[in-house]
Amino acid sequence: MAEAHAPSTAQPAHGGGHASVRTYVNVAIVLAIITAVEVATLYIHGIPNWLLVSSLLLMSAAKFYLVVGFFMHLKYDSNVMRSLFVGPLIIAILIILAVMALFSAYILLPRTYP
């Protein structure tokens, strides 16, 4: 990352330009389909819980990626912009997971008092 962004050597980096209106519409259609599937899974009974949760998380991650990558042009943007957003996002997710673990410790590993 260091040398790639030497001032005055970087390419002009502009949002837009790289994705066409057609791409945007296609992405939106995919987003709509995923959302529909997400909601539909709620009404199908008999899916094991782990499968439901993991598939919902997977689908929302896909939507997240599509919006960030295409609508926000991060897929085409400079590495600097990417790391400015993805780094904090990773820290935020890790902290959410850690907080969940800390607060569920009492449920998962109940301390038995005789």
Partner: protein, 341 residues
């Protein structure tokens, strides 16, 4: 302008650091023996922590001397001399960097492994034979209950020597921290959950405890007293506590009892057979306690009368209201309470 006073200042640095080291090594030792010392442990739990503390202390002392020594030596050896050429422009040394990184990692392993072992060891479930004590930290006093014996007392904790004790810590109001320095580390007393600390007092004697988490106005006055008894003595104490309170024939005490029973006292305090208030400390055997108001002062008639008259004056923010007792009334109540052996 930047080149003067070199040798004199270095000498001063040396003297200063030598002084620091001296105070660390010599005058330190004689003063560890204090009523709330953490480095003269009197329980298994305290001793284990102290062992790791000493391990880390010696390790870090070696590092400390090495680092500060290197710093001072570098300052002396490489001081600017008149007419000195520009020093060689060294940018770094990869092998050195890697080796001291590894060295630090090794030191941390030395400290880390026993630490992790001890974390699990000290947080094991207590043995079935352990004595259970329910501790409630309240603004700004301590309640101790022994469910096996059906005893409740306040601000004075009595324990048998050599028996494992499991403290279950409750906080009805805000966060406190239960700490008896000589018997080992502290554990916070947190509303909404029950914390636990387990230890085995090893030496009979009297120890002091104190709340160690800021809990409001009189946090500094939330102290308690711990008595570790030889085995037989503890049983006797339990028996005495289980007995109904003594009836005094002293007229002043009798008058005090009447006053107590007729006033707002009964709303907060329990005295077996007299009242059943739950808010303030249980006073059934109040006369047997050595101190008053969460170990703030000796439990004497004069102190107690002052306390009853105006609690807030002695203990800022005290939750016990000023009941407007006259001097005579408070003296009577003090006489009654002190008769509750």
């Amino acid at each position: 302008m930047t080149k003067r006073l070199f040798s004199a200042s270095t000498a001063r640095t040396v003297v200063l650091l030598a002084g620091v080291a001296l105070s660390l090594s010599s005058c330190g030792w004689s003063l560890w023996d204090n009523p709330m010392t953490t480095v003269r442990p009197k329980s298994d739990f305290g001793r284990w922590s102290d062992e790791i503390f000493m391990l880390i202390s010696w390790t870090t002392l070696v590092i400390f001397i090495a680092v500060e020594g290197a710093l001072l030596y570098a300052c002396w050896r490489f001081r600017d001399r008149p007419g000195a050429p520009i020093p060689k422009q060294i940018h770094g040394h990869t092998v050195l960097e890697i080796s001291w990184t590894i060295a630090f990692a090794v030191v941390l392993l030395i400290i880390g492994i026993p630490t992790i072992k001890l974390i699990f060891k000290t947080q094991e479930a207590p043995a079935a034979t352990a004595l259970r004590v329910d501790v409630a930290g309240k603004q700004w006093w301590w309640e101790f209950s022994y469910p096996e014996f059906k005893i409740t007392t306040a601000n004075e904790l009595h324990l048998p020597v050599g028996q494992s004790v499991a403290f279950d810590l409750h906080a009805p109001d805000v966060i406190h921290s239960f700490w008896i320095p000589q018997l080992g580390g502290k554990r916070d007393v947190v509303p909404h959950r029950v914390n636990r600390i387990v230890m085995t007092p090893a030496v009979p004697g009297e120890y002091l405890g104190q709340c160690a988490e800021y809990c409001g106005m009189s946090h500094a006055n939330m102290r308690f007293r711990v008595v570790v008894h030889p085995k037989g003595e503890f049983d006797a104490w339990v028996k005495a506590q289980q007995a109904p309170p003594a009836e005094s024939t002293d007229p002043l005490a009798q008058q005090g009892k009447t006053l107590f029973a007729q006033s707002a006292c009964v709303g907060c305090h329990t005295i077996a057979g007299v009242s059943a208030g739950q808010i303030g400390p249980n006073l059934t055997h109040f006369g047997s306690r050595k101190s008053l108001a969460a170990n703030m002062m000796p439990n004497t008639a004069a102190n107690l009368a002052k306390w009853v008259e105006n609690p807030d004056h002695l203990k800022p923010g005290a939750r016990m209201p000023n009941l407007g007792m006259s001097g005579e009334q408070s003296k009577a109540i003090a006489a009654y309470l002190l008769s509750l052996k």
